[in-house]
């Protein structure tokens, strides 16, 4: 059964047709990779899922519920979390707090005030956050502010922020960009474990083919705003259209 359905989505930025009749169907509990050359419209597509952008036409539905017109927090509360392409964290807060905040959002909903509750007494949330930080390998730095982190670590922190919410659908925009090889491999292992242990569906944009082919169950190739191929990884590798898309842009650049 497909959990995320995208039908005929168009998005235009001035004269540029960034998304051109995109159709996509993501099956539950799979790892769905979206690849494509720079500027193909991959991030724009994710932005249409989380309420950051409104498509000009077409539909996006999650578990048969339309996501169009929902506020970003409403979309998150339906079970969709996202890691951004440029890491977005709460820089002035500690790493631990960065993870506790989404945990609160998951437990208490979009608006919930108990002004006299002490943060220090929220041990359950704290332990939950620490557990995830352990998994992503940031537990030792948990009391440092997030601003001082390396880009790769910010990405791992963002991953932790999403995982702590136990989302149904996790959207990752280039989760390993800026990471060293060893970190990339750790991330692959982490994603594998999560994928096996929880019922999380992944939609991942990734340039690193090593990551894509280690993880993906299915791959969509986007080029100039259009899905040119969608297939199993083994059929993608030698696909003539894919070669053309990548080589074509490589020449024009």
């Amino acid at each position: 059964m497909s959990i995320l359905k995208v039908k005929g989505v168009n998005k235009r930025f001035g004269g540029l047709l960034a998304l051109d009749d995109v159709n996509l169907s993501v099956r539950e509990n799979t790892f769905h990779a979206i690849i494509g050359p720079n500027g193909a419209g991959k991030s724009t597509l994710l932005n249409c899922f989380i309420g950051k952008l409104m498509p000009d036409s077409g539909t996006v539905s999650f578990n048969d519920r339309s996501l169009l017109g929902l506020e970003p927090h409403e979309i998150n509360q339906t079970g969709i979390s996202r890691v951004f392409q440029t890491p977005e964290v709460f820089s002035e807060l500690s790493i631990l707090e960065n993870v506790m905040i989404p945990a609160f959002a998951h437990r208490d909903g979009a608006f919930h005030i108990s002004p006299f509750k002490s943060l220090a007494k929220e041990t359950a949330i704290r332990e939950q956050a620490e557990k995830i930080l352990q998994d992503v390998g940031l537990i030792d730095e948990r009391h440092h502010t997030a601003s001082a982190m390396s880009r790769g670590n910010k990405r791992r922190l963002e991953m932790a922020m999403c995982l702590v919410q136990q989302p149904k659908l996790l959207l990752l925009d280039e989760p390993t960009a800026g990471m060293a090889r060893a970190d990339t491999n750790n991330t692959i292992d982490l994603l594998k474990t999560i994928n096996e242990a929880h019922n999380i569906t992944f939609v991942v944009i990734e340039h690193d083919m090593h990551v894509v082919f280690s993880l993906a169950d299915r791959i969509s190739v986007l080029s100039q705003g259009h899905v040119i191929v969608e297939d199993h990884p083994e059929n993608i590798k030698g696909h003539p259209k894919v070669q053309e898309a990548y080589l074509g842009t490589a020449e024009s650049e």
Binding site: H73, L93, E97, M100, S114, L119, A120, K121
Partner: protein, 412 residues
């Protein structure tokens, strides 16, 4: 670890309480130990604490908080006129009315952020100020200002005071009552109004401490850090900012009510933009986002306004009386523009120095001093412990990266 956290907060609370209650003793030696000024220290402290819950935590800079101060004053005074000379119903009514008013203004203003938010709040406050002078004269008594009157109906206790205008009281204890106690050559003035306000200040400080330490406080800090991210994290940030806005509006209303309880006269100039700007200065000067900073800032600014403004040329000449006349006069000519009616200049200079060199306000200055002392007194413990950082910043422990120096944010 959690136990230590609570102990640290308790220590802060106890220290704060002691210092506030010892106000007359501490302020008398610096010439500020008279009831009128001490009351103002405390009341503006409450105003600034409330402002800090909005500005310090969420980063939303309101330039119209004086409107709530004014609304609080008018509402409280009407209660004193119509219902009872007891300050309790007046204060409660003022807090409720200013809360509703803040709900309205906040609902509209918080649709925008940054400079647009500031301008919207400023516009609302100036509107209120102008209305108070014009259309609303029946309520505000226009330029004369609203005050107590012999003819006030006072449903509950009008019988008590025939022939003279009553003065606000707390179940019979009049705010103006003062016990003067001679002590080491000084006259310590223990004033009822001061102690009533002081107890409220302590309560309000505690409330703000609890807010800082709650998940709600953490979410407000996340708004300041990255509001867009917070929305993608599943929080609807708007009602959070609105709640903070209303709470801070109620603090302002409370302060406004206390002002008229101490001195039953409410004028529209209390709502002017200069008054809104003053609370911004107080908070930034003391340290926005810190617990104790706003109270400190309020104290300093009120001290300048009342003490520096009174120093005239003669007083300055007196300081240099030991020097030859021409030298004394030269000094006086140089210094006097910064004193007396020129106190604004010195305040401005100090404010600039603080903002440039201590962006974290006076609290940051105090921290740096403390760090210096601990470093000088030997390297036994050169970084702040986790617990210290947690207790002082109103947040979970936050350390700078190992490469940079760890700043101990000790407040006291």
């Amino acid at each position: 670890m959690l136990k230590t956290l609570r102990t640290n907060d308790t220590a802060l609370m106890i220290l704060f309480t002691l210092v506030v209650l010892a106000g007359p003793l501490i302020l008398a030696p610096v010439g500020a130990g008279y009831p009128d000024l001490m009351q103002r220290f405390v009341i503006y402290g409450i105003f600034a604490i409330g402002f800090n819950i909005l500005f310090g935590l969420t980063g939303y800079l309101s330039f119209g908080h004086a409107a709530f101060l004014g609304v609080g004053s008018y509402s409280a005074l009407w209660m004193l006129k119509l219902l009872s000379i007891n300050i309790v119903p007046a204060i409660i009514f003022a807090v409720v009315v200013s809360g509703l008013f803040a709900l309205l203004i906040g609902f509209v203003s918080l649709r925008r952020s940054g400079i647009y938010f500031s301008i919207l709040t400023l516009a609302f406050a100036q509107m209120s100020y102008n209305l108070a002078y014009s259309v609303l004269t029946p309520i505000t008594n226009g330029e004369t200002g609203l005050q107590l009157d012999l003819e006030d109906p006072r449903i509950l206790d009008s019988a008590g005071s025939a022939g003279q205008v009553a003065s606000p009281s707390f179940f019979g204890l009049e705010m103006g009552d003062t016990a003067v106690v001679p002590f080491l050559g000084m006259d310590l003035q223990f004033n009822v109004g001061f102690y009533v306000s002081a107890l409220i200040l302590i309560g309000m400080f505690y409330l703000s401490l609890r807010i800082f330490r709650s998940p709600f406080g953490m979410i407000l800090r996340a708004v300041k850090s990255n509001q867009t991210r917070l929305n993608y994290t599943g929080f609807n940030s708007r009602p959070y900012t609105l709640t903070a806005f209303v709470i801070s509006g109620m603090y302002a209303g409370l302060a406004g009510a206390l002002l008229v309880c101490m001195d039953p006269l409410a004028g529209a100039e209390r709502m002017q933009w200069t008054a809104s700007g003053e609370v911004v200065l107080m908070t930034i000067m003391g340290g926005a986002g810190t617990l104790i900073g706003p109270v400190l800032g309020a104290g300093i600014i009120k001290y300048f306004e009342n003490i520096f403004s009174r120093i005239n040329d003669e007083v300055v000449l007196g300081w240099f009386s030991a020097l030859p006349d021409w030298l004394a006069e030269a000094f006086t000519t140089v210094i006097s523009p910064f004193l007396g009616s020129g106190w604004h200049i010195s305040l401005g200079l100090i404010f600039m120095l603080v903002v440039i060199f201590l962006p974290g306000g006076l609290v940051e200055g105090a921290n740096r001093l403390m760090n210096l002392f601990t470093r000088l007194s030997g390297p036994r413990k050169n970084t702040a412990s986790e617990e210290d950082a947690y207790a002082d910043k109103g947040s979970l422990p936050t350390k700078a990266a190992p490469s940079s120096t760890v700043v101990n944010t000790k407040e006291s």
